[in-house]
Symmetry: C2
Subunit: 334 residues, 2 copies
């Protein structure tokens, strides 16, 4: 009996082992569990199958499998305001005691009074002032720590979760799926490159060297013999709209074969990507889900989507309808 | 007899097979065959052994094994003038028929008259004029082709070999050795990023996205509905001296653990690299071999090496004495 039990236990172990081994195979048949079946999911899976089919007409060598992703509104949420702007606001509040003049100087005055709408009424000039006051004047190492501390403690004003949890679960699966198929995934964002790098590896699995973004000028200095990089209050490059293909060419030096965005700021990246030879893929995340997320496009100032939506429809780009295409929006609460 | 011969032939084949199989193992014990035994080679091998020893006190995770290399004078030769400047000269000559004004306008006049010394007497302003005339005004795709065509046909004025053959064999072995040990090898050069990318993968095994260099401004445009990136006649960023750590931070976003240069233009990159925590490695190629290559340092305008040499000696950086440390200079003629 003992021997029998052992043999039977052994057989069971083998059986369980086979089931466990079989699971990944099953998972491969649905690599995007948070995506509902539909044209968007089908288009993604079809594209990946074609470019990875060795010997097939659309095969692309792994080195050229570059996929670029916008960040705000594509990988994580961007309402009611770009999260990096909310960081700037919190930072201005924290620094206010050292800047008594801000009590009377716009846009700081409105920010400190809690009136963001009025602060933003100052347009680009106001935004740049807030960004420079919050993002410059320290070393790059010090800035990294400031951002990390903020991300660890700050909460979204409406959703009350850390910003790094307000990433789109279907997009996390898409990033992992592409990487599992030999793609290198890049962020190409209008956001600040150092801001995004402070969380991109942990949250998206995207390492610092695969993050392209807007930059302010910096300067190398020796301070008491110790080299530092100091962040200066001057815009270096805005990685948005026509700046995106320019930055892709400058930083990556290869044209992506797939690009993912959600606003008119991504239009030129999608045009540049799809104009290359061979198989190409362009996807627009359309924010259609006012119940589970936010619904906005043509009338929104944040994430304004109009030209890219029209061109995307006309050219057969994949338009994700968040409401119907996504089974879930955010990852489960940890 | 026939069977015997066959058996003996079979044994011989096995024996030869074993010898062939054994060769790579032997090669692993000398990964740098073009380096003579000495302190430079020993320092390299020791550093690589320490940072790759899992569980050792100096272990560095593969993701952080970033090594940055200057190009001119470090990976390939740079005398009598930076090769990219010789490209600019050839390009100006080729374009001269379309620019009759160049016959009287400096520095073009001197270039067309074959007097480079006089052309360079105009200093930075003259150099920028020549670079802009030769590097701007076309699309990025067109420029790639112009550079590739030039590299395929041009020959070094003294050595009569293609420029891409004037790379240092010991450094090719070093690049391969580092990559075999989990490093990612980057170029961080004062040269133009698109110029270097046109040959870096083929010649050095360094892909475009791992090349950081100087840039001119570019612009995204739709021409007859087709997206192009147009190269503009304006300097964007000079990746030299203090610009190197700035560019490393901007493009890579990680501090290298090893850096390799040959001139004062690399000093700040070496300072930035060695100032990080944990094991660090800095190497300077000292051009001491007037017989096999060129001998120059403190008095040279091209590849000027003075401060970096003094600081490197004081701080125990590895100084390669080309004459004694390198068994060969260039790869064998193909």
């Amino acid at each position: 009996m003992r021997t029998m039990r052992t043999a039977s236990g052994f057989a069971a172990a083998i059986w369980i082992g086979l089931v466990v081994l079989a699971s990944p195979v099953h998972a491969q048949t649905d690599p995007l569990p948070s995506w509902n079946d539909g044209p968007a999911k089908a288009a993604i899976v079809d594209f990946v199958a074609r470019v990875t089919k060795d010997g097939g007409p659309d095969f692309v060598a792994p080195a050229d499998r570059i996929a670029t992703f916008d960040n705000d509104g594509t990988l994580w949420a961007e309402q009611p305001l770009y999260f990096q702007f909310l960081f700037a606001v919190d930072r201005v509040k924290a620094l206010a005691p050292q800047h008594p003049d801000w009590k009377t100087e716009e846009p700081f005055r409105s920010v400190l009074a809690g009136d963001l709408k009025k602060a933003l009424a100052g347009g680009n000039e106001a935004i740049i002032k807030l960004v420079m006051a919050s993002h410059a004047g320290m070393t790059s190492d010090a800035f990294d720590k400031i951002v990390a501390d903020w991300l660890a403690s700050a909460r979204h004003p409406a959703l009350h979760r850390p910003y790094t949890e307000l990433v789109y679960q279907p997009m996390l699966e898409l990033l992992a799926y592409l990487r599992a198929n030999g793609f290198r995934t890049y962020i190409v964002s209008g956001g600040g490159v150092e801001f995004i790098r402070s969380f991109s590896e942990k949250v998206y699995g995207i390492p610092p060297e695969q993050v392209v973004g807007s930059t302010i000028k910096t300067k190398f200095e020796l301070r008491d013999g110790k080299p530092v990089i100091v962040r200066l209050p001057a815009v270096d490059f805005i990685d948005d709209g026509p700046g995106k293909p320019v930055a892709i060419e400058k930083f990556i030096g290869r044209r992506p074969i797939a690009a993912f965005g959600n606003s008119d700021g991504d239009l030129q990246m999608l045009q540049w990507t799809t104009a290359g030879a061979g198989p190409r893929f362009a996807l627009i995340v359309h924010h259609t889900d006012g119940a589970r997320e936010f619904a906005y496009d043509r009338k929104s100032s944040i994430g304004h989507l109009e030209k890219a939506l029209d061109e995307g429809k006309a050219r057969g780009w994949t338009i994700v309808d968040m409401k119907t295409d996504w089974k879930t929006i955010y990852p489960p609460q940890p």
